[in-house]
Structures are given as C-alpha cells and as structure tokens.
Amino acid sequence: MAYQAVAEERVGVRPRRAVGRYAAPALFLLPATVLILLFFVLPVLTTLVLSLTDISTVTFRQPKWVGVQNYRELLGDPFIGKIFLNTGRYVVLTLLFNVGIGLALALLSTSIPARFGNQIRALWLLPRILPPVAYVLIWHGLTREAPFGLVSNVLGVSRNWITAEPWSVIILANGLVGASFGMLIFTSAIRSIPQDLFYAAAVDGATTTQTVRRVVLPMLRWPILFVTAYQTLSLLTSFEYILLLTQGGPGFYTTTVWALHAYQLALSNYFGNVQFALGAAMAAVLVVIGIAVSVLYLRVFNFKALVAEPKVEVN
C-alpha cells in the first residue's frame, strides 16, 4: 500500500521514471500486441477498406472507392437471407453435436478405467489428425451409390447421400471432427475436480446422475463457455468441409454458408474475374457477427463471475 502511494507520487513528479516502470510489462506485452495487430487488427482494417472499393480481377490495378455500394448489393441479394439462415443452422446444429458428443465422451471415458478411457479418446482423435481433404474423401467413399458406398449398402437404398441429405452429412462430418476438441478439454477439467467432492457426494448418497448434474457440470461451466465460444467463432468462419462435400449446393445455395459465399465471390472462379470487394464486405459483416456473438456469450455465462478471485484460498 505504502509502496503504491509512493509510486503514484513519483509518477506525478517524474514522468521519466514512469517509462522505466512500464517498460518491462510493455516489453512482455509487445509480442502478443504485435501478433494481434498484424494478424487481427490489420486484416480487419484491410477488409473494411477493400469492402468500400470495387476491386475485382478487372479493376485489380486501379480500384475505385464506391462507398457502401457493396453492402447495398448484399442487402439486395434475394438469397442472402437463405445464406444467413444456413449459417445459423450450420453453426447451431454442429455446435450442439460437437459440445454434446464431446461432453458425453468426456463423462463416459472418465467414468471407466483409464486404460480403456484413453484408448477410446485416442480413437476419437483420429478424424482430427487426418488432413481435411483425406477425411472428406473417406466421406465421399462412405456416401457413394451402391455398390461402392458403405451407407447405401448398409441401408439397402442406393443414393448419393451427400446430395440426398446434404445437411446431415455436413453436420456429421464437421461434428465428428469437432467433438474431439470438447472431449479433450472436458476430460482434463473433469480430472482436475478435487476427488473429495466425489467422495462427499458418494457419502451423501448421490446417484451417478446427481453427481454429474450437481458436481461435475457446475465445475465445467468455464470449459463449456470456452469450447462453445471458441467453436462458434471457428464454425462461423469455417467452410472447408462444406466446400469439399457439397460446394454449397445442390441447387441454389442449399448449403452455402456466409464464409463459403464470401470465398466463392472473392477467391474462386473458373473464368477468373473474381470480386474481392464484395467478398470483403461479406467478411466484414462476419467480423461484426463474431464480435456480437462473443459479447453475448460473455454475458450469458457471466464471464466476470467465472474469472473472479476465488473466495476461499486453497493451499
């Protein structure tokens, strides 16, 4: 306390010492700050600037300012509502699958002997360590028509399941990869719950369900927030599995999500005239949505309470 008062007094009197005082923390913050500036702030600014121009392949050398023209064009697109809803559907359903399966796997694999639990978790990590293209090739193989496709053979109905049930395939393919992420985080969180709490619950005669509901889940609030928020944001911007599975089809934007549409406008075209500016406008909207969603999560999960100092000191 006394030290702080002296320090504050010095700040007022001799500013040069203040520089010295903040030099070390600033130095430690520098690498992270540079990274954030380079890889977050700068791209966001570039995207915003690009979205206000008419840059495309044809105007690549001399782009012109067009103001909010691109945003107006987005609003005028009759399919933009559909694409927006598709994005919501994709994120929410995949998230439910991801977090749900991840949680179930963590709970199940920690309640059996570690030997088996570890093996089950290792098995679930396989999709994640496969390169996306190879992983999707497996899905293509699974969903082909008979006699090549496993699903067709098992169900006895020969169809191309990717075009027959595009959403189910997309959510399953994404969810099975994503589940392992939640599984790992939740497992380590469950492992770090003090064993005493389980003993106490057992002594009080709690059933397994009660233990999970009253002991485990309340202790998992923070990891669940983290996994949900993290997965939401990465799902909002991810489109690689959709691109590889359905290319946003079949038909008019059936499975096109926001990020995929931005990619197709801005980066992918057979005849080469691509609209960077329109894609940038879509990306800018995505940034705003991402920030809004993050704020919402912090509110819903009461982030402040989660990171508050513990009321009881445990040593």
Binding site: D77, P250, G251, G272, N273
Partner: protein, 449 residues
C-alpha cells in the same frame, strides 16, 4: 627452385579460374506458368523447354551473345489456386513472362491490363500463319488478338456401342449414329427415348442413360446453345440469356430425371463418379471432352486393353440439336499462351512461342494429351486414329463468348441446372431465378430476352 615454379603455376591456375570462360554468355530467363490440370498435358510446359533449345541453337548461329532458359511450372492441382497465383504474379515485379490459360480469359485480363495484344507480333513469325484461322477468333476481344493458341479440343457426345447392341441396334445402325447426329436426324429427345428404352429393358441401371460433367464448366454453354439459346450479342457486346431456350434445356433435363435416364444427383462434384461408371461400360450416352480419351486410355481402361477397348466400346459424334434437322454443336475452349504486360522480354517470349508453335511439338502435345492440334499442317500429317476421327467435330465448334462477366452468367445457369435436376424447383422457376440472378449480378451487361 622447383617449389617456385609450382607456386607460379598455382597462381596462374587460380587466375584462370577467376576469369570468365570464353564462350560464357548472358542467360535470359523466360518464366512460364502452365497448367493441365490433367497430367497428360504436361507438354504445355515441356514443349516450351524443347523450343528453347532450338531457339538457343539459332541464337548461337546468329551470334546474339545470349541464351535463354525457361523456368516455371506445370500445375496439376486446379484452376482456382492457379488463377489466384497468376493474378498475384501479374502484380509482381518478378512475375511470369508467359502464362497459359483458357483463351476466353483474354477479355478479363485485357480489361485489367495484365496482358499485351499480339497483333503487332504475329506477322513477324511465319509459324503463326499455319494456325487454324478460327482459333484466332477465340483469342479476340475488342478487335484485338490477345494470345497464341496452344491447343484446342472438341466436346463430343459419346455413346456406348456395346450397350446399344444389347438394346437391339444393328452394327449398321450404330455406325450411322454419328452421321445422324451431324445431320440433325438424331435429336436430344431421341437420346432420352433411347435411354428410357434401355432402362426399361434393363440394359442399363436407372439414371445411367445420360451423363454430363459433375461440376461447373464451360460445357453448359454448348448445351444451352444446342437448345437454341444465344449468350452474346455482338452488336452491343453484352451477354444474353434467352429464357425460352433455357426453359427447353431445363425441361429436357427434368424429363430426363423423371424418366429415370438422368441421375437426380448427377452434379455430385466428383469426377471419379463420372469416370468409373462410364469406363465400367455402364453408361449409354455421355458428354465429355476429346482429352478425356487419353485419360481413359492411360488410366481408367489401361488394364482392359487401353485404346483398343475404347474403340471397341465407345462411339462419338457432335452434340445433337433439339429439333429434327437442327444444327449439331460442340464447343472448344482453346488453351492459349499469354504474354504478360509486366514481362521485360516480350519480344523473346513471343519468339519462343513461335518456336513452340511448330508441327512436331504441336503433334506431340495433341497425341500425348488427346487434344486437337492448332496447326493446319499437324492436322494433315498426324498419325493418330482418334484425333483424325474427331477432327471433323471442329466444323461444328463454337467458343465461349469473350466477356469479363461470363463467369457470373455461367454460375447462374449452373445453379439453375443443379436446382432443376435435384428437384428443388420446376424448370420454369429455375429459369426465372436464373434471369433475376443475372439481372442483379451482371446488371446492364446482360440482355434478358
């Protein structure tokens, strides 16, 4: 004493090493970027290096005092990533001198100022005089020629002769089919009717009566045209969509799906699911490209006898008309070498292209990759049964319109096909959606009629 001599020799030797060798010459690097993406088309790059050797010999003879070296790559991955790389290459100060791509990219790249017009260079080299004249038209935009043709192809309607025979066709009838396709006697409706017959008689499985490509591509323009559509208005230089013709095309596709001739999921994005059934001999009619013949022979039916098997089982002709007596059609999407505006050695680059545009290299590429040659001499001397037999298709060929917004036009038509085939919308709804999509994205550059 001996020691001294030894040191002196050493010094002289070292000095000699430091001097440049007498015949060392300046080397000019010509950077060339090329793409298949099909493997057999690797001659698009290799022909440039062979041509460079011949050019170097001539440079030596002329005492030019320099040699050239071709550097660059042949891309087998895909167009999207290649074109992105090329776009950045155009902007770089160290970009390529020569870029190979679809001739129809001339419109976009010329508007953007990435490439230089060839009109001034072409008369300088006699090699270019031998190029098939129609191909220069495909390199034109706003009255100028923007590229040197590299190869061309045709897109035939293939048919499975073995299956037709099982269906009860005689050998004469099968042999007459290409002629009937050419003179407009065998129409798109006959394709459907034959397919339906084959499905009913269990000669083929449902949906395998007619196959078209599984992904977006230029081919859809030719099918829309074969139903009487036009896509370009030369007078105004604008793109066109004809709703009546598009409706005919979409209705035909719908009828094909409803009749069990075309798969509902035909646009599955997977070439393997096209190649496998076709080369297993299970598909009756299928639209493809001449270059696929090489892929089939070298990869898909290699263990069944390669090209022999193909000749025994597959026949080919132009794509039919939609009414009796109508004009048949095929489409070519010629590949071309562009010289970049950023190149510091434009003259040399064009000269290298002239050395590449010679019959033996043209033939090597054509035979190796089953593309059609670009030189008239090659077409006459080439000794290849398939290429000789499909060359006549060029009489019916058309090109994609030169317009920077072509890709938007194509995307809209393609989405419509995907929606109609998968049953999302009726053909009429599909046409209306496509027209409004085009009016929104291409604005005043499209005429809806």
């Amino acid at each position: 004493m001996k020691h001294k001599w030894f040191v002196a020799l050493w010094v002289i030797g070292l000095m000699a090493l430091m001097l440049p060798p007498a015949q060392a010459q300046r080397v000019v690097v010509i950077k060339a970027w090329t793409i298949g993406p099909d493997n057999p088309s690797v001659t698009r790059f290799n022909n440039l290096t062979t041509a460079a050797e011949r050019l170097n010999a001539d440079l030596n003879r002329e005492g030019a005092g320099f040699q050239i070296r071709v550097e660059g790559f042949f891309d087998t991955v895909g167009w999207d990533s290649y074109l992105r790389r090329v776009l950045l290459g155009f902007q770089s100060s160290d970009g390529p001198d020569i870029v190979q791509a679809n001739g129809s990219l001339a419109a976009t790249w010329a508007d953007a100022g990435f490439i230089v017009a060839m009109d001034g260079y072409i008369p300088r080299y006699r090699q270019f005089a031998d190029v098939v004249p129609a191909l220069w038209d495909a390199m034109k935009y706003k009255g100028k020629i923007w590229a040197i043709p590299q190869d061309t192809e045709a897109r035939p309607l293939y048919f499975n002769k073995t299956l037709l025979k099982q269906l009860g066709w005689t050998d004469q009838q099968i042999a007459a089919l290409p002629g009937r396709l050419s003179n407009g006697d065998f129409t798109w409706d006959d394709v459907l009717a034959t397919g339906r017959d084959a499905v009913q008689k269990r000669v083929i499985e449902a949906g395998k009566g007619y196959y078209h490509r599984p992904v977006n591509g230029p081919d859809f323009i030719q099918w829309y045209r074969s139903f009487g559509g036009r896509d370009f208005d030369a007078q105004s230089g604008k793109l066109v969509i004809n709703k009546a013709a598009l409706l005919r095309y979409y209705s035909w596709l719908r009828a094909g799906v409803d009749g069990g001739v075309i798969e509902k999921d035909r646009l599955n994005g997977d070439w393997n699911r096209y190649m496998q059934p076709v080369t297993d001999g299970k598909v009756l009619f299928f639209s493809g490209g001449t270059w696929q013949w090489a892929e089939w022979a070298q990869i898909w039916v290699n263990n069944k006898g390669g090209e022999e098997w193909l000749f025994a089982n597959f026949g080919y002709g132009p794509h039919p008309a939609h009414v009796k007596g109508g004009k048949p059609i095929t489409m070519s999407n010629p590949q071309a070498y562009f010289v970049t505006a950023g190149s510091k050695n434009k003259d040399l680059a064009v000269r290298l292209l002239a050395y590449t545009t010679v019959p033996d290299l043209d033939a090597k590429h054509a035979v190796g990759s089953a593309h059609l040659p670009v030189l008239r001499t090659t077409a006459r001397v080439i000794n290849n049964k398939f290429l000789k037999e499909v060359s006549y298709l060029l009489n019916y060929t058309t090109f994609a319109p030169a317009h920077p917004d072509l890709s938007k036009w194509q995307d809209a038509v393609f989405r419509g096909i995907s929606a109609v085939e998968s049953g999302q919308v009726t053909p009429q709804q599909g046409v209306d959606l496509v027209a409004s999509e085009m009016q929104r994205t291409i604005r005043d550059q499209v005429i809806v009629e």
